[in-house]
Amino acid sequence: MKSSKKYCKVINLISATDDKLVEISDKGLLSLTLKEMQTIKKYFVTLKRNPTDCELETIAQTWSEHCKHKTLTAKIKLKYKKGRKFVTKVYDNLLKDTIFYATKKINHKLCLSVFEDNAGIIKFDETDAVAFKVETHNHPTALEPYGGSSTGVGGVIRDIIGCGLGAKPIANTDVFCFGDISTVEQLPEGVFHPKRILKGVVNGVRDYGNRMGIPTVNGSIVFNKRYNYNPLVYCGCIGILPQDKVYKKISPEQLIILVGGRTGRDGIHGATFSSAALHNDLPTSVVQIGDAITEKMFLDVLLKARDLNLYNAITDCGAGGLSSACGELAMNYGCKIFLEKVPLKYLGLKPWEIWLSESQERMVVIVSKELKDEFIDICKKEDVEATVIGEITNTKKLEVFFREEKVCDIDMQFLHKGNPKFEFDIEIKFQKIKKYDKNLEISFGKSLVEIIKKVLSHPNVCSKEYVIQQYDYEVQGNTVLKPLISYTQQYSPQDSAILWPKKDSYKGIVISCGINSFYGEYDICSMTESVIDESIRNIISVGGNLEKIFLLDNFCWGEIQNDGQLSNLVLSCETAKNVAIYFGTPFISGKDSLNNYFLLKEKKVSIVPTLLISAIGIVDDIRKTISSEFKSFSNNVYIIGETKDELKGSVLYDILKKNDSKVPSLDYKNAKKIYKTFDKIKPYILSAHDCSDGGMITSLIEMTFGRNIGVEINLSKVDILLEFCFSESNSRFIVEISPDNKEIFENLLNREKVKFMYLGKTTMKPYVIIKYKNEIVCNEEIKNFYNLWSKGLNL
C-alpha cells in the first residue's frame, strides 16, 4: 500500500508512544485499552507499515465490547473465603466455562445452533426450527427514547431475518426497566424524566413492531429508581425457519450484495459507544432513527428469495455496520469490498464512514454469480434496493477498496482472533446476612385489605394493559394464549404467551421471561436463581414441559471496572450454570450490556445489576394448555410449593421500606420435583398462575379478574399472615381443580412428595374473602381490586 493516501488518512502507530496510543483511542472514540492498542501496533510493525483510519476503526469495532463480549469471555481469577481458607477459582473464559459449559453438558437433542449465529436455533417439529434472540439497546434509548428503542426492535428483528438463511419473525417480546415515574427530583442535564422515557420507548417499540406486522406477545415492565439515569430496553424476537435453511454456505467467488436502505453517517461509533459512559457532549451521529417499512419491504423479498434458494448466506448490518457484517461472514475465507458501490443517502461520506456507518435497515446477502440477476430482479420488483458491493475471496484477508485505492487490508485471523484477552484478578467478600425479625403482625396501622390495595397498585405489580393493548398481539393469527384474557371488561394477566405457528399440527411455542430489579441489590446468587426459576415456572404454569425449555441470558450491569460489579457478574454466571444444568434447560443465546452508569458530577452512578432470562418452550398440543383466569365457581383452589420467610426485595418490603429477612432463593430439589409433577397433574388443572411479585395473594386476586369469579380462602393454618401472603418464594403455583378430581390430584402430589396446601373455593359471588383464625380479614368486591390494579400506572 502507498504511504500517501487520497481517500483515507494514515495514522502513525508504529512509532507512537504508549501515551500517544491512548490519545489516539480516546480522540477517535475507539474505546480500546492500552494493551489492545499495543497489540495493534505490534501487528502493523510486523507489516512494516502504518494503519489507515479505516483499518484502525475496523479493528476497534470488531474488538468492541459489544461485538466481542471481552469481559464475559475474559480470563478471571477469583479469590474467596471458604470457611477459614482462601480458595482461588480460575475461569479461562467466563462465558465458555459457565453459561456455554452448561449448554454443552446438557447437550439437548433439540439444539441446532447455539451461540454461533445471530440467534439461538432449536428444532420445532420434523421440518421447521425456531430462532430466538434478545438484545438490549440501552444507551441510545437514554439519549433518544423513541428513536433508540425503535432501532432496538429493528435490530433484533434483523438478527432473526439474518440467522441461518433467513427466518420469518413471528413474535416480539419486550422488557423495559424504567426509573421512578413519580419522581419530582430535579434530574441532571441531558436526562429525560422516566415518564418521558417510558412514553418514548412504548411508542417507539410499538410503532416499529406494529408496522412490521410482528405481534408483541410477552414482556415485562420494571420500575426502580436505580434506572433513573439509565433505562434498560430488552428487545426480543422469535422466528421460524425450515430446518434445511439453518446453516449458511459460504464459498469463494460468491458475490456480496447489500440490500435495503441507503447508507449515511448514522450511528457511527455505535459499537464502541455502547460501552462508554453517558455524558453530555455526544455527537448527533450516534443516534439512529428507524424506518420499519424499509425493513418490512426487504423481509417480504428476502423470504421469497430464500424459498427460491437464491442466496447462500445472510446477515444483518448492525453494530459496526458493513465492517462487522462482511468481516463476520467472510471470517474463514476473506473478501474484497468496493465502497464506491455502496448506495449513499447523501454525498460527502469518507470511505471509513461508509464502512462503519450503522444506517439501519440493511442486510448483507451472499449470492452465487449465476443467481445474481434473478436475486436483484426480485428485489427491484418490490422497490427494494440491492447492490453488489464485493465478493468472497480465499485470501483470508479483509480487503476494502474505494475506487482505485485500497483503504483496508487486514488478516481475518488477526481481526477476529487477534485481540488480547482481558484478564481480571478479583476477590469476593461476602456480606453478612442480617438477622431476620419475625414480627410481621398486622401492626403497621394498616389492615390486610389496605396492604393488598397498595401492593396491587404498585408499579411492579399493577396492570400493564396501557402498554400491552398498544401492541398488536393478534397479527399473523398465531397467538393462542394472549397476554391478557377477559370475558367481561376485566383482564387476567397470563404467565406466558403461546404461539401456534403451523395450523397443520397442534404444536406450539411458549414464550416467557424472568426479571427482578430489587433482589440484585442484596444477593446476586439468589437473584439469578429467582429470575431463571421465574422464566421456567411461567412456562410450566401454562402447560409447558421442563424437558423442552430453552433459555437466553441478558446481563445488564453497571460500571464493570468496579471490582464488586465484576465479581457479581462471575457469581451470577456461575449460578446460572448450576441452575441450567440442574433443570436440564440449556442456554441457546445471550448478550450483555456492561457499563450502564451515568457520570454525575464526576461520580459514576451505576444501575442495579439486572439479569433478564427469556425462555422458550415447545408444547405438543396447544389445546391442552392452561390459562390463569378462574374458570368456574365451586372449584377447589390450592397453592403448590412452599412459602418461606423470603421478604427481602419483595414488593411488600418496598412499600413498608424494610430490608431484613432474605431474598427468595431456589430449592433446587423441590423445584424440579414440582415441575416434573406438574406434567402429571396437568390434565386436572382448570387454571394456574405462578406466584411472583406481590406474593401469592396478588396471583390469587389476578385469577379472579378474567371471569369475575370470586374466591373464598381460609389461611388459618398459616403462621404469619403477611409473610404467607406477600413472600415471593420461588416455584409456587395457585391452581384451580374441580372437586371431582380432588382425590386423584391430591394423591398424585402426595405420592411425589410435593408440598401443597388447600386454600379454599371459587365462588359465584364476585368477592375476595379471606378468613384467618375466626376472623374475616378481607371481604372485598373484585372490581374494587381491579380498579386499583388496572389504573396503577396512572397514564
Partner: protein, 149 residues
C-alpha cells in the same frame, strides 16, 4: 419558492397528557397545549400546485383544513415549530415526497420537510418556553426549534 403548510384539525384537541405533565413539573401558568402537523416545501412550484398537493394528499377533507404561509397572530399564545436536524431521518417527509410523485405532477424537484407545531396558551416568556419544549416536546440531539415571533 418557500411554502409553509399547516394542517389544522377541526376539533383542535388539547394534548391532555402533556398538559398534566407540564403542570406536575411545576409550570402552572400553562393553560392549554396542543400540537399539529406542519410541512415545509421548497422548490420551483406554484402556489396552485401546492394547494393541489394539500388537497389531494396532505389534508383529510372531512376533518382537517390547511393553511399556506399563514400569518400568525401571537398576542395571547406562544407557537413553536419543531423540525428535524439536517441528516436526521425525516420519514414522513420522505413519504410525502414519494407520494407527490404519484400525483402525476411534472417537475417535482422539491425539498420536503415535516415537523410539529406546538401551541401554548397563554403567551409565556422565551426561557420558560424553551424549558417546556426541551422537557416535553423535542430532543435537542435530533431536532431544532424556532419560537415564532
Amino acid at each position: 419558492m418557500k411554502y409553509f403548510i399547516k394542517i389544522v384539525n377541526n376539533n383542535n384537541l388539547v394534548d391532555m397528557f402533556s398538559l398534566n405533565e407540564i403542570h406536575l413539573q411545576g409550570f402552572t401558568k400553562v393553560q392549554s397545549v396542543s400540537k399539529l402537523k406542519i410541512y415545509k416545501i421548497l422548490g420551483k412550484i406554484s402556489k396552485k400546485e401546492i394547494e393541489y398537493i394539500c388537497e389531494k394528499l396532505l389534508v383529510d377533507p372531512i376533518i382537517e383544513r390547511y393553511y399556506i404561509n399563514k400569518k400568525e397572530y401571537l398576542k395571547n399564545i406562544t407557537r413553536i415549530n419543531i423540525w428535524f436536524k439536517p441528516l436526521v431521518l425525516d420519514i414522513v417527509a420522505q413519504n410525502v415526497y414519494k407520494a407527490i410523485g404519484y400525483l402525476n405532477m411534472k417537475n417535482y424537484n422539491l425539498e420536503v420537510y415535516s415537523g410539529t407545531q406546538v401551541t401554548i396558551v397563554p403567551k409565556i416568556n422565551k426561557k420558560i418556553a424553551e424549558q417546556i419544549i426541551k422537557k416535553f416536546f423535542m430532543n435537542e440531539l435530533i431536532q431544532t426549534y424556532e419560537i415564532l415571533k
